[in-house]
Structure formats: C-alpha cells, structure tokens
Symmetry: C2
Subunit: 213 residues, 2 copies
DNA sequence: GTCTATAAGCCGATAGAC
DNA sequence: GTCTATCGGCTTATAGAC
C-alpha cells in the first residue's frame, strides 16, 4: 500500500532527476519539475522544502548503489574476476539510473559542494578500501605495478562516460541513445584494456618508453 | 603593441573561463566575471554583448588546441607512437588550459547546445578521421580488433578526468591540485592500459570470458 | 494535501553622463 | 572607452483559501 505521500515523492524525485540531468542544477526551474511530475509547484515545496534539498535527495539516491557496486571489486581475491565484476557493476548502475548518474557527474565536476559531507566520507572510505585491495594484489604479484589510485580514477572515468556524453555518443555511433550493444561493447573494451594492461600474465614486456611521456 | 581593446578582451576571457569553470554557465554572474577582470560590468557587455556570447567565445578558445592534439594520432603510421603521442597531447592541452577544459567538459555533459554548430562539425570530422585511422591499423593487424569508437571515447574520458575532478583527485591523492607527478603518472597509466590492451604483441590470449560481461 | 496568487529579490542588460 | 544608476523580467518560495 503506497500512500499518496510516497507516490508523489517518487514522482517528484524522478522528474527532478530528469530535469537536473538535462539542464544542470542552476538552469532547471522548479516549475518545470512540477509540470513534469504532473503536480502543482507548491506541492514540490510541500514535500521537499527547497530546490537545494530536493537536489540533495536526488544525489542521495545514487550513493547506495555506488557503494554496493564498489564493494564488488573485493568480493573474491582474484584480480581478474574482481576488476571484471567491478567494471560490469559500475556500468550496470549507470545504466539503471542514467539521469541520476549524470546529475552526480555534473555535481562532481563542479566540486561536489552540494553533496552532503557524510556521503563524501562514505565514498572516500570505500575508495580507499579498493585502493588498499589493489595495492595488496600488486604486492603479492597478482597485479602489475600500476599506480592503484590512477587505475581507480581511470575505471571511474571510463565507466562514467558511456552514460554521460549523450551527443558525443550519438555523433560517433549514429544513434541517439546508448543501446544494449553499446553497453556490452563498452564493458568489453574497458575490461580488455584494464586486464590487458595490469594482469601480469597478459602484460608483455612494457618498455621504459611507455612511461616517458 | 597591444591595444586597450585586446588587453581588456583577454582579461575578460580569462576571468570568464575561471568563473564558468568554477560554477558552470548558469550559476556564474556577469558581475563576478567583471570583478575578477577588474573592470566595470558594463565593459563586459561593451566587448561581448551578452553572457551567452562571452561563453561561446570561451569555448571557442579550446577548439583549435583540441583539433591539433587530435591530429597527432595520425602523424606516423605506428600505432604505439601514435597512441602514446595522442594521449600525451590531450593531457598537455588540458593542463595548459585547465579552466577552459573544464568548461568544455561541462558543456558536453549538458549536451553541447551552446557549442557553435560549426565547431561540432569540425570536431566530429576530426574524430572520424581518427576512427578511420584506428580501423586501418586494425585491418592491417597493427592493432588488436578493439572497437575503434569505444577506444576513442575511452581515451577521451580518461584524459579529461585528470583535470576535471579536482576534489576527487585531492581526496584520493591528498593534494589540492594535480601536480607534475600526477600528470606524468596519468599519462603513464593511461598509455600503459591502452597499449597493453590493444597492441597485438603486448596482448596475451584474451579469453572469451572477458567479453561476457 | 492541493492549488492560485503574489511577494521578494536577484541578475542580465542598457541608458546616458563623462 | 568607462562607469553609475536603474530597468525589467524572471524565479524561488510562501501565504492562504479550499
């Protein structure tokens, strides 16, 4: 039994995600969110008090999936399985929440000042656990000696891009919106590059010149 | 002999880049740009007519460097040298124009509606040339059969991230702003992953499982 | 809980003197 | 070319009837 309250809050959150994703925080108008949700603008303030608070609630929706996807890296003690599952999990959540993922990216790009500090700390601690995991794999020779922090940044940027760059994707692939094939190609390409570059038995002799840039 | 006109236009462009980068188009106020440039707000309108026009001029500053960096991929017919130089060039321009690079990223994220159509076409054509170059390398067996469009997207996202995500970098590395070491580590890591994943003699047996995600 | 009408203030843009 | 003063419109947020 979903109350009127729950239903409306969901409608507003969904509408807000889409508007914020399309135009960014500052350019979206609360009126447009209300129209998209099919409610009067005053209702939006009745449920969420302010535009900024609504925005924070949208961001919050993405934190839990993000933390869960991140923990996947350390589920087994096998770098190949871990990295592969981690990349797949990140692509999956970006795909399941395309609008919020974009809002989140935009927020990070502007410095993350509207992301509640508590969230930042949770995400940071989670990232540190993954860095430690990578470092331990490297120490035990299970992973090539790549910089673990940069490897993480790299995976983040790659998995984020596919949902974010609407028109770049469209221009390049000739389609309007990333489809099933794009996502599996993305996962395949990223996985291949990451594993090809960091798993010892897959790494050939990496000459010193590669690090001379 | 730099005229007053030239000097002021430069001051305004620089100030605008920083403000737009820090807050995004919609959240930056023309008054703040003027204050940062050390001029009266009216002068800004005298030189650039409107906020949107000023923004477009900021974006324009990045197109030429971007096109030049892109062409580097095809300078020789060697995938290793080409990819390595291309990654280095993209990191270099993002580093030389950190603010504009960020403005550009933000604009792309929001759909690129304010990027003049002429620019879009130039960038698209340039990207297509690179895709064709990669495809020819693949056809001749110089490069592993990775999807060339996804490889491009991948390099774009990776090279962009290091300058954009100020606080993500800061949180992870403990520094406020990416420094020399970060940039060379970035170049090294990206180059290593890309070359390790796509240059045939560096690629081990890539099992089918890698593509099953 | 819902909705209309309106307050309050901010910000892009300009007029017009110097 | 420069600068002050100000307009005019737009947008968040709320008051208050239903």
């Amino acid at each position: 039994m979903t109350s009127i309250r729950q239903r409306n809050q969901r409608l507003i959150l969904a509408a807000a995600s889409e508007e914020f994703a399309a135009k960014g925080f500052d350019a979206t108008q609360t009126l447009d969110i209300a129209l998209r949700a099919g409610l009067a603008k005053a209702n939006l303030y009745y449920y969420y008090q302010s535009k900024e608070n609504l925005y924070a609630k949208v961001l919050l929706e993405f934190v839990e999936p993000l933390l869960e996807a991140s923990a996947v890296l350390r589920e087994s003690d096998d770098p190949v399985a871990g990295l592969q599952a981690y990349i797949a999990a990140r692509i999956r959540i970006a795909r399941e929440h395309p609008h919020i993922a974009k809002v989140f990216s935009s927020e990070l790009l502007l410095g993350g000042r509207q992301l509640p500090e508590e969230c930042r700390d949770l995400l940071y601690a989670e990232a540190q656990r993954n860095v430690e995991c990578l470092r331990s794999w490297i120490d035990r020779g299970l992973l090539a000696p790549v910089d673990p922090e940069h490897l993480m940044l790299f995976i983040w940027s790659a998995t984020r891009t596919y949902t974010n760059l609407g028109w770049q994707m469209a221009h390049i692939t000739g389609r309007q919106v990333p489809d099933d094939g794009d996502f599996s190609q993305a996962a395949a390409t990223i996985t291949r590059l990451v594993l090809g570059g960091v798993v010892p038995e897959r790494v050939g002799a990496i000459g010193g010149l590669l690090f001379a840039t």
